[in-house]
C-alpha cells in the first residue's frame, strides 16, 4: 500500500470507464450495420456489446501484511474490465423489401442497439469518469499538502 495507492485505484477506474466509452461509441456507430459477421454463409447484423466490470483483487502482499498485523486492512485495488460480452437479445425486425439484406418475407434484421439506452450509458460513463477525476485530484491535493509539513 504505497502512498500512491488511491491514485492508482482512480487511474484504473478512468481506464475502465474509457474502455466502456469506447464500447458505447462502437455500438452507436454500428446502429445500422447489417453485415457484421459471416455465419454459415449468411450475414448477421452487429450485436450490441457491453463491458463487465470487476474489482481488482488485493495482492498477496496485502493479505500477508494484514495477517502479520503490519497493516490494518486490505483497501482494494480498483476496478478492471473483465470481459466484453455481446448482448443476446434478439435482433430488431423491420419490414423493408427494398433493402439488399431483406429475407424472403421482406424483413431486415437490424442490430439490437437502442440509441436511447446508449445515450444513458454514455452519460453514466461520463459522470463516473468525472467523479474519478475529482477523487484523483483530491488525493493529489492531500499528498501535496503533506509535503508542506514543517514549511
Amino acid at each position: 500500500m504505497t502512498i500512491f495507492h488511491s491514485i492508482n485505484n482512480s487511474a484504473s477506474a478512468l481506464t475502465a470507464q474509457r474502455l466502456r466509452m469506447d464500447v458505447i461509441s462502437s455500438n452507436m456507430s454500428n446502429v445500422d450495420s447489417t453485415r457484421a459477421k459471416l455465419v454459415n454463409g449468411e450475414w448477421q447484423p452487429y450485436r450490441r456489446k457491453t463491458v463487465v466490470l470487476q474489482p481488482k483483487e488485493g495482492s498477496f502482499s496485502n493479505f500477508l501484511n494484514v495477517a502479520m498485523n503490519r497493516q490494518d486492512g486490505v483497501a482494494g485495488n480498483g476496478v478492471k474490465v473483465s470481459r466484453v460480452v455481446e448482448d443476446e437479445t434478439p435482433f430488431k425486425l423491420v419490414f423493408d423489401p427494398e433493402h439488399p439484406d431483406a429475407d424472403e418475407n421482406g424483413y431486415v434484421e437490424l442490430p439490437n442497439v437502442d440509441p436511447l439506452r446508449e445515450m444513458v450509458d454514455l452519460i453514466s460513463a461520463t459522470r463516473s469518469y468525472e467523479a474519478n477525476v475529482t477523487v484523483l485530484n483530491a488525493s493529489k491535493g492531500m499528498l501535496m499538502k503533506a509535503l508542506e509539513i514543517g514549511k
Binding site: 502512498i3 500512491f4 491514485i7 492508482n8 481506464t15 484523483l136 509535503l147
Partner: protein
C-alpha cells in the same frame, strides 16, 4: 570519514529514476496517436540495485577472466509497457494511466527533493554547530 550516508545515495537513485520516468511519460503522451507506437516504461528495480550495495565480485580462477561491470553507475532501464490494450492502429498508450503516472511522479519527485534537501540542511547545521 563518510559524510554522505547510504540514504543520500538511495535518494539520488530515486531522483534518477524519477527524471527518467518524466521523460518517458512525456514521450508516451506526445505519441498518444502514433500508429504502431508501443508505450515505454521505466524499470524500478534496476534503479535501486546500486543503492542496495550488492557488490558481488566475480570469483576469478584465471587472470584473464572479466570482472563484473561496475554496478554503481547503472541508470534505470527503459522497457516496453506490456499491460495495456492495443488500439486499432497498433498504439498501446493508455492516456489515463500516463496522466496519473504524471501526477504520481510529480509528487514522488517533490517528496524526494524535500527529503534530500532536509538531509543536506541537517549536515550543514551540524557542521556549523548552530551558529
Amino acid at each position: 570519514m563518510k559524510l554522505f550516508s547510504n540514504t543520500i545515495s538511495t535518494l539520488e537513485s530515486a531522483l534518477n529514476y524519477s527524471s527518467t520516468k518524466q521523460k518517458v511519460i512525456s514521450q508516451n503522451i506526445s505519441n498518444v496517436d502514433t500508429p504502431n507506437y508501443k508505450a515505454k516504461d521505466v524499470s524500478f528495480k534496476t534503479a535501486f540495485e546500486s543503492a542496495l550495495n550488492t557488490t558481488i565480485a566475480a570469483n576469478k580462477t584465471d587472470q584473464r577472466h572479466y570482472d563484473f561491470k561496475g554496478i554503481s553507475q547503472r541508470r534505470p532501464g527503459i522497457t516496453i509497457r506490456k499491460d495495456t490494450a492495443y488500439n486499432h492502429n497498433g498504439n498501446n498508450v493508455d492516456l489515463d494511466k500516463e496522466m496519473s503516472d504524471l501526477a504520481t511522479n510529480q509528487i514522488y519527485y517533490n517528496a524526494v527533493i524535500e527529503r534530500i534537501s532536509g538531509k543536506f540542511n541537517t549536515l550543514q547545521t551540524v557542521i556549523r554547530g548552530g551558529k
